[in-house]
Subunit: 169 residues, 2 copies
């Protein structure tokens, strides 16, 4: 149902400014994002700007490549993953940014029309020893397509503020 | 010299279709890319599309954040790194794409006006045991700003074709 899909994409792309803090990340927790459909135009546009390899920007060359057709830049896939994650966690969260990512793996090509969503597992939540107002969370992202195939995985690190203490009334 | 900078950016953004093959990656080799200047408009545009956290999309909120001003999404920085790498290695290369990245680290914020370039070191070049036409290369990318500060590092994996054998005449 194309209309439902569009509604879904709009929903996840307009997150409320909810607040997620360090205490909200409990090791073992799992959740999922909304989904996004990747268009050919977006694949071409991203790749022309950032990753103009033939199998990302040239339909004919892509057909003749081992991929057999146009595929998204892995960095485009990673950026879409971030978009879904931001929508899930909210833009009013206690996020202080990320020191990095471990073991990013591109497992399957992402092709025009693919619908992608992300499973999020909390692996670790480590309070900072030097800065008591924050902690480090380690999350595993597993991005899947509409066929349930894993297309990308990564272990993302995030610095997150602790929930502010409320003054007793 | 703004004009020289623009010329430089144009140069690295219009790579010739040179061909790099597995044999061209020798462990210990080091080289560098051209550079690119990041504009505020690009930072905002990328982040609105993929990473709309306040310190990437809202100048006033960014000023009040721990970063003290607008900073680029780490995924934008990574995409710009890819752009410089593609320009260096050429679009006619033997690249078969990448299985992933290890230890991506965002070390310093990237801010509007920063000029970024990448050092590339070949760490390993491993011939494939199952597919004799290709090999895996492991490269360390170190992205620096105009002050010589490292802003991002990663270990990138790449699948690359071996140089085609020429028939003896």
């Amino acid at each position: 149902m194309p209309n439902e899909r569009i509604a879904e994409v709009k929903r996840v792309y307009n997150p409320r400014p909810v607040s997620m803090f360090f205490e909200d990340f409990r090791p073992g927790d799992e959740t999922g994002t909304g989904s996004v459909i990747v268009t050919k135009e977006e694949i071409l546009s991203f790749a022309r700007q950032f990753d103009p390899q033939p199998f990302h920007v040239d339909e004919e060359a892509a057909r003749q490549s081992p991929y057999g057709g146009l595929i998204a830049s892995g960095w485009h896939t990673a950026a879409l993953c971030m978009r879904l994650i931001v929508a899930l966690l909210g833009t009013g969260s206690g996020s202080l940014g990320s020191p990095g990512v471990d073991e990013l793996r591109w497992l399957k090509p992402v092709r025009p029309g693919d619908e992608l969503s992300v499973r999020v597992e909390v692996l670790e939540a480590i309070p900072s020893r030097s800065k008591p107002d924050r902690g480090l969370v380690k999350l595993r992202y597993t991005m899947r397509n509409q066929n349930g195939e894993d297309v990308m995985t990564m272990i993302a690190l995030g610095l997150v503020l602790r929930r502010p203490e409320v003054e007793p009334t």
